[in-house]
Symmetry: C2
């Protein structure tokens, strides 16, 4: 019998208890041992809850109980969650987490602590919710040199962009509807500004490089500037607009960035709509492989946490390999990154555009629209583009977008 | 230093040697040990080959060498490959294979042999080439009750169907072109009749149920009956035609079948074109997740074999869990399976169709075509459909197709 403690009885924490309960037979069979949730830590009381008797308010109870060998950290944040995780690992208790912020902030340190104490720190649920992606990178694609990872890693923004694309609605209205449906938070900043996707690509980039990719150094741009008009151009070009989190090995170092991108209908990520997430991994032998599914939600995320618990049980006393060193990865400056860009200008700016960008532009016009015009640039660096684009001044309309190659 | 033997120096076998060589640094790091290919078994000689000195013609040399702890079986077939695998496992040498036929035929027995001798029989490369799917089922989706698996598991047929769809070409011509490009074998039967996909879904179904799904009991239908005209109807309905391998838990037992299906544009497998493969897994907590990539090819397949080798090294002396018992899974008869069906009839057969199928049909007409007409039935069992369809006699044109829900 393996005894577990769940920290935080919110959406994911209660999901963990539910998955272990509802799939008891499968879970115990796959673990090779019977699992039991012995404690649930939460500051709140839950009178009448079927697991009321497991509730404790004091982490010390869990820490001191030698029977507890695995802790599920589903609290979130980098305060108490960090402290409790450290203490659990130092006591030789493995920790399974859905807390992307903590993993992105203190991953290497916590992994090192786990190694020192012959236990494990696992975080499958921290990226892509229930989609297996951490374990595929760590256990499956082990014969590959991973050259790039491109993900749709945030369900809220993908839902908003899909709605804008298919219904022609504007950002503000779609956001409001998403908030009413519970697909977006009351304070949507972490999602719509790309911060959530940034934490997640920091984790994936770290696993790709084997070094630490600091999320604070990742260029991050959200979706708040994308307009319905941009989708009209995208449609005209047979493309879609997605918030992509990108990590790529280049000859000068690792590129990591989050930004809305125009992508082709042929691109595997083009079909990822609504709250779904997907991660496209390019390896030097396999080429592209893609992992697709629900990137959030109570039970999908909880399922990933429980799969980590099962992995811990299977490797009790043994450290599962995970290559994520504390030393910083060599990130290249966004200025040096090359893309094609799309931008829009007011009618009558043709000469200004030509003077700045030269002749290599592709012109895109929406049928019947004489007020403005779109352009696609050749491949150029971010710096070259920003220099020219900045000088367009009032001629530019809306935001500019990057094209995913 | 871990010493390896490769059995069969054909496409995949030489790929294994190449992956270990070209990705030496990554592979050794991920394995935690240095790997060395000590022997390559082949009946042929390869004068001038850089690995000529490793070539042996006698399996006994490998078997008797205690230094060899891992054997990669990339020979194919169920004759010598079976014997060598048995002998290697009995000698405590782990075996990693790309041989779907052997795994589908003798999987449970070989897994049991491995368990008895504290070694492993791993077969990631046997399904989906380089796409991780065996390990995601065995290591990742462990907290899920898997309810269904639907796959595009054969690249040759998917390439042919994609070409027919996008170029309007007929089956025979596309097959010939595919053979010239090396995408189809000279004798294409195993691919186009669905036998290859059948072996693969037998393996996935066995892992889903934990019992043995005998591939000889799986209803299997190939793509040779699909006509360009079927794609015209599919386009008219906003659908595509794919050869699907399906495994699904029903209240009466497990359904397993291979057949061409009409699928909606919204279906995640709709975007899988050309030689790509994908597997859609439905779990009771996570819902849908999909695994997509190159389902064949020298280096992708070899990469999967090498990932198995790395897994063996990480678990030396320890048996990796795999739930696939020898006892037969409870398969339901194809007669009882329910679908909607699509079929075509000659013009003037409306009354016959109505008399046989009743009023619940949806009529599909191609613009400008007065020679024939298509129908979609309501949900009905295979037996009910076959009874009515058989009585259409000469009125029926072409083949009938199933609709994927």
């Amino acid at each position: 019998m393996i005894k577990i403690a769940v920290l935080g009885y919110g959406t994911v924490g209660s999901g963990v208890v539910e998955v272990i309960e509802r799939n008891r037979e499968t879970v115990n069979k796959k673990a090779g041992e019977d699992l039991e949730v012995k404690y649930i830590l939460d500051l709140r009381d839950f009178p009448g809850d079927p697991y009321e008797d497991r509730l404790v308010h004091d982490f010390g109870r869990i820490l001191e109980d030698d029977e507890v060998s695995i802790v599920c950290e589903t609290m979130g944040g980098v305060g108490a969650a960090y402290e409790f995780t450290r203490q659990a690992l130092c006591a030789g208790k493995s920790v399974c987490t859905s807390n992307k912020e903590l993993v992105a902030t203190h991953g290497p340190e916590l992994l090192e602590l786990a190694r020192e104490h012959d236990c494990n720190y696992l975080f499958e649920a921290s990226v892509g919710g229930g989609i297996p992606i951490i374990r595929p990178l760590n256990y499956c694609l082990t014969a590959e040199r991973i050259e790039s990872i491109t993900g749709i890693l945030n369900g809220t923004t993908n839902y908003i962009l899909s709605k804008m694309e298919y219904e022609g609605a504007d950002y503000e209205n779609v956001l409001k509807a998403a908030q009413e449906k519970g697909y977006a938070e009351r304070n949507p900043e972490a999602d719509v500004e790309g911060y959530d996707a940034c934490r997640k690509i920091a984790i994936l980039s770290s696993l790709m490089t084997g070094k630490n990719v600091d999320y604070r150094k990742i260029y991050t741009e959200g979706i708040t500037g994308v307009e319905p008009r941009d989708f009209e151009y995208a449609r005209q070009m047979g493309m879609s607009i997605k918030l992509l989190a990108v990590s790529r090995e280049t000859k000068d170092g690792t590129l990591a960035m989050v930004s809305p991108f125009l992508i082709d209908a042929e691109h595997p990520l083009h079909m990822v709509n609504g709250v779904f997430n997907a991660v496209l991994v390019h390896g030097n032998m396999l080429g592209d492989s893609m992992y697709y599914g629900r990137g959030a939600g109570k039970l999908p995320t909880a399922s990933a946490v429980v799969s980590d618990v099962i992995d811990c049980v299977r490797h009790m006393g043994k450290v599962i390999m995970c290559f994520w060193d504390a030393c910083d990865a060599d990130l290249i400056s966004i200025d040096r990154v090359e893309h094609r860009f799309f931008f829009r200008v007011k009618e009558g700016s043709e000469n200004t555009v030509k003077a700045l960008f030269g002749d290599g532009l592709e012109e895109i016009r929406l049928p019947g629209d004489v007020r403005e015009c779109g352009y696609i640039t050749p491949v150029m660096t971010e710096k070259e583009f920003a220099d020219c684009y900045g000088r367009l001044g009032d001629s530019a309309v809306g935001c500019r977008l990057r094209l995913e190659a």
